[in-house]
Structure formats: structure tokens, C-alpha cells
């Protein structure tokens, strides 16, 4: 599938972007999922559930966005033509996503440090939850619009097509919206699975075990719906997904492992399997559209910056990683010791 002779610096940087995106999905994605569970916390333990979510997201959630920043910076530095196309056609969903991230973070902080008054707490909690839900749905719809070729097609009509056709229809259609809901489902599934490990109260742990299992079924249904819609809305994508059968088999195996380990209450194993499942889904999409950044027109090679820029970028990434990775490790370790 991938010809090793064609791999070079542009592909290496594309792989680094994919790894950073993977890290963002596993860390920031679970934070978004926590927001959904905060909104629909219910039953006699809803306060305990919300406290667990707030404690788990804690003060380190902001650090998780560093991965999104890495993705954006590498994309505009290494693949400026692709970044330009995404920035133009997807201006509206990217703006909504940014506002969602800002509102969500602000509401979380205002709820934690603001008035203890019940109405104020509820208002910030609602803003936090709405931001947590809207942002992943829009993020997923951006992925759907890129994957089914709608962004590429709309880019050809900038300046000639209508506002709706170029700036709205690519991401506000059935397939991208189902992918958006799928992303929200995956993040909620990831969060519930992580929370089974974080919980100290057995009843609360059981609450999140049940939610993780329900969300696993919903994720499966949404994946099936996305594939069915892709048959007509993105036939090329559906064919390319099938061409990585080993990866798809591994995804199914990790999904089954997550469900079985959750069922058997092997929470730490379930956390690893869930992270593997979500990562494999992400890589399945990325490999399905390889060698394109924006299929079917803009490939990694077509949109890559000059070689000298890419070489300097690799040096920059190396220096950045030497600072970032130990810092993150220290940060996570420090808060783990405190808690």
C-alpha cells in the first residue's frame, strides 16, 4: 500500500503531525467526552460523578491542547498550501471550534473559582458542557468534509461558487455530521473508560462502566451509519478504508477487547484497549487517504514546503520535543502525587 521508496522528509513530518493528532485525541478528546458526562450526570451520585470528572480533568486539561497547537503549527509550516485551503473552505467550522474551546475552558475555570452560588454553578456547567459537545462534533465534521473530498471540490469554486456551496455545504452535510457525532461518541467512550480507572468509589466506577459499555454500542452504530452513508456520499473513501484490512482487523480486535475487559471489570486493561481502538480508527482514516492531505487533489508532496524549511522544522521539532515531553511528564507526575 505504501511504497517505502517514496517516503521522505514530507512524509516524516506528516507522520509527526499524525502522532500529535493521536496524542490530542487521546488526551484532549477524553476531556471533551468528560464534558458530555458532566451534562448528563444523573441518579443519586450525580454530584460525585461531576466531582470525579472535574478532578480528572483538573488543572492539566489546558496542557492537552499543546498537541493541537503542534498540529496547527506543523501544518502551516510544512504544508502551507493545504493549510491555506483548509483555512479558507473551513473558516466557519474552525471558528466555531475555536470559540467552543475558549468557552469550554473559561466556563470550567469560572465554575471552579467563581461564585459557589447554585445558579452560577449551573450556568457555567451548562456552558462547559455545550462547548464540550459542539467542539468535537465540529472537529469530526471537518474530518468528514476533508475525507469525502468536499473540501477539495469546494476549493475549486472559491470566487465562483455561492457562499453556501463553498463555505457551508462541505461540512454541513449528512456524512460530515455523522462523522462529527461519531467523534463525540468516541471521545465520550474514551472518557467513560478512563473514568472507571480514576474513580475511587465503587458505585461511581460502576456508573461509568455502564456508560462506557452503552457508548461502545452507540459508537458501533455510528460507525456503521458513517460507512453506509459513505457508500453514496464518499464512495472513494469507503473503498480506501477497505484497502487497509490489517488495520481494520486490529481495530475490531481492540474494540472487542475493550468491551470484554469492561465487562470483566479489568479497568486498566480496558483503558489501554480503548486508547488503542481510538488510535487505530484515527490511523485507519489517515492511511485511507494517504498520500493526500486533502483528497483527491492535494497530496503530501504537492503541498510540502521547500526542503530547507522542512529540514529546519525537523530540528525545531526535535528541540521542542526535548523540552515538551519531559515537561509534560513532570506535570502529570506532579498532579498525580498531589491527588
Amino acid at each position: 500500500m505504501i511504497d517505502l521508496d517514496t517516503l521522505g522528509l514530507p512524509e516524516a513530518i506528516a507522520a509527526i503531525i499524525a502522532i500529535a493528532l493521536n496524542a490530542y485525541v487521546l488526551t484532549g478528546g477524553a476531556d471533551f467526552g468528560g464534558g458530555l458526562w458532566d451534562l448528563i450526570a444523573s441518579g443519586p451520585r450525580r454530584t460525585l460523578q461531576r466531582e470525579l470528572i472535574a478532578h480528572s480533568i483538573g488543572p492539566i486539561w489546558e496542557a492537552n491542547h499543546v498537541w493541537l497547537i503542534v498540529v496547527v503549527v506543523l501544518l502551516f509550516s510544512a504544508f502551507p498550501a493545504a493549510f491555506s485551503t483548509l483555512g479558507i473552505v473551513l473558516h466557519i467550522p474552525i471558528t466555531i471550534m475555536l470559540i467552543g474551546i475558549v468557552l469550554r475552558g473559561s466556563a470550567f475555570v469560572f465554575r471552579s473559582y467563581g461564585s459557589r452560588d447554585g445558579a452560577a454553578q449551573m450556568r457555567w456547567g451548562l456552558a462547559f458542557a455545550i462547548g464540550s459537545i459542539v467542539t468535537p462534533v465540529v472537529l469530526g465534521s471537518i474530518v468528514g468534509a476533508i475525507a469525502n473530498g468536499a473540501v477539495s471540490e469546494a476549493a475549486d469554486h472559491v470566487g465562483t461558487g455561492t457562499f453556501m456551496a463553498v463555505f457551508v455545504s462541505p461540512w454541513l452535510a449528512a456524512f460530515p455530521i455523522v462523522v462529527g457525532l461519531f467523534a463525540l461518541g468516541l471521545f465520550a467512550f474514551l472518557a467513560a473508560t478512563y473514568l472507571t480507572v480514576e474513580a475511587r468509589d465503587d458505585a461511581v466506577r460502576d456508573d461509568f462502566r455502564r456508560r462506557a459499555l452503552i457508548m461502545a454500542a452507540i459508537v458501533f452504530a455510528l460507525a456503521a451509519a458513517a460507512l453506509v452513508i459513505a457508500g453514496s456520499a464518499a464512495p472513494g473513501l469507503a473503498a480506501r478504508v477497505i484497502r487497509v484490512p490489517l488495520l481494520q482487523a486490529a481495530t475490531v480486535a481492540s474494540a472487542l477487547t475493550t468491551v470484554v475487559t469492561l465487562w470483566m471489570r479489568r479497568y486498566r486493561a480496558a483503558r489501554v484497549a480503548a486508547a488503542a481502538q481510538v488510535s487505530l480508527i484515527l490511523w485507519g482514516w489517515l492511511l485511507a487517504q494517504y498520500p493526500y492531505v486533502i483528497p483527491p487533489a492535494l497530496s503530501i508532496r504537492d503541498t510540502a514546503a521547500p526542503a530547507v524549511t522542512l529540514k529546519l522544522l525537523v530540528v525545531g521539532v526535535g528541540i521542542g520535543a526535548a523540552v515538551l515531553l519531559p515537561s509534560l511528564r513532570y506535570l502529570f507526575g506532579a498532579f498525580r502525587r498531589v491527588s
Binding site: 483555512g87 479558507i88 473558516h91 471558528t95 470559540i99 475558549v102 468557552l103 473559561s106 469560572f110 473559582y113 467563581g114 461564585s115 472559491v158 470566487g159 457562499f163 463555505f167
Partner: protein
């Protein structure tokens, strides 16, 4: 040479996101000011 006017996104209606972000940050700034004031009052 690439002038700012030539580099701007071709999407029409850019005044809308500009106004949105301005309002968002003005609102957040006002909320932070109120919260800090009440925190100072509580600890004074």
C-alpha cells in the same frame, strides 16, 4: 511582496467573525474582572 489585503481569506463577511471574537473576549474580560473583584472581597 505579499500585502495584507492580498493575503486575506477570500471568504466574504469577515466583519462577522471579527465582531464575534471581539465580543467574546470583551465578555470574558468583564467576567474575569468581576470574579477577581469578588475573590478580593472574599479574602479581604
Amino acid at each position: 511582496m505579499l500585502r495584507t489585503a492580498d493575503a486575506v481569506t477570500p471568504m466574504p463577511g469577515l466583519a462577522v467573525p471579527l465582531a464575534l471574537f471581539a465580543l467574546l473576549y470583551l465578555g470574558l474580560g468583564a467576567i474575569v474582572a468581576v470574579l477577581i473583584r469578588s475573590l478580593i472581597r472574599e479574602t479581604a
